[in-house]
Symmetry: C2
Subunit: 154 residues, 2 copies
DNA sequence: GAGAGAAGCTTGCATGTGCATGTATGCTTT
DNA sequence: AAAGCATACATGCACATGCAAGCTTCTCTC
């Protein structure tokens, strides 16, 4: 019989799928938080700023259109507009109109932006490596998946 | 020689580690967005609400303390306070003080909360399965990792 | 070539989140 | 038992993000 009428039985445990995704979520949250903290403290930029600079710096001409950035970062187009506004204010980028399509806007990275990215990049890579390493040690179940993704030092 | 003096050379390509993590980020963004959209449209609740209800519904007594919820969901403690406020407003939960520690606050799930969770759970599981399946097909590189995590249909 | 609709970006608004702080309760030391 | 510190949660504030609407420019059809 049920233990007590006052407490309904707990719902059945979530599926293995849900639990596995939950693990991904917790890993994601931990890693992203660690990266955000260290980038902000040591280089004064946020994660989205860092990633935008990264895509710009490694693109052929040092410039990308709004929608391209949005796709690469996984953000909304409107969010990218504000993000680029912040980067412009910090003099890491500037806007340039597309010559052949006047609706388009190129965001171009400046020398200052390249420098800041290069500095932050070292911190980012090191932190990412460390946090993933720690995560693998804290929860060995993650190791095979992390390896499969190429996320553990090889 | 350099193509043109006006465009500095692009930064070296990011490390394999960074690129791998970027893939995780894009996967995360796509899946979470899909889940959020479908939960909101079909059940009128957000992702965090759904997850909080899930942890509450499957806990032994249908109740958890603030910090416990925060840990399980991966949110800030203050964020959980607002989250629970929303759940209370919707009558999915109510607050109950901890008898032995009057600082503590239990969030208790109601019958209504259990019902809503059960409904949403079916949608959530199905969507998660589909989106991951699609992701694996769109980018076969992910398949080994998804399998290692137990994220692909058995 | 003129009008209709699509594409690309920006802006107004609402919201969820984090950080820092405030408040109440518990614990420990003397 | 009083004081001082720690713990647990709530609140003020700032901000990044998404959605919907608006504006400009391009494109296609007639």
């Amino acid at each position: 019989m049920a233990p007590t009428a006052s407490t309904p039985p707990p719902a059945p445990a979530p599926s293995a799928l849900s639990e596995a995704w939950n693990d991904v979520l917790l890993l994601h949250a931990r890693v992203e938080n660690a990266l955000a903290v260290v980038l902000q403290r040591r280089h004064g930029i946020g994660l989205s700023e860092y990633r935008a600079l990264g895509h710009l710096a490694t693109s052929a001409a040092g410039e990308l259109r709004m929608q391209e950035l949005a796709d690469k970062i996984g953000l909304n187009q409107s969010s990218v507009t504000r993000l680029v506004t912040r980067l412009n204010t910090a003099e890491f980028t500037y806007r340039d109109v597309c010559p052949d399509d006047k609706r388009g806007v190129y965001t171009v990275i400046t020398e200052s932006g390249r420098t800041r990215y290069a500095e932050a990049n070292a911190t980012y890579e090191a932190t990412l490596r460390n946090v993933l390493e720690e995560a693998g040690q804290a929860d060995p179940r993650l190791v095979p998946a992390l390896s499969a993704l190429g996320l553990l030092d090889g």
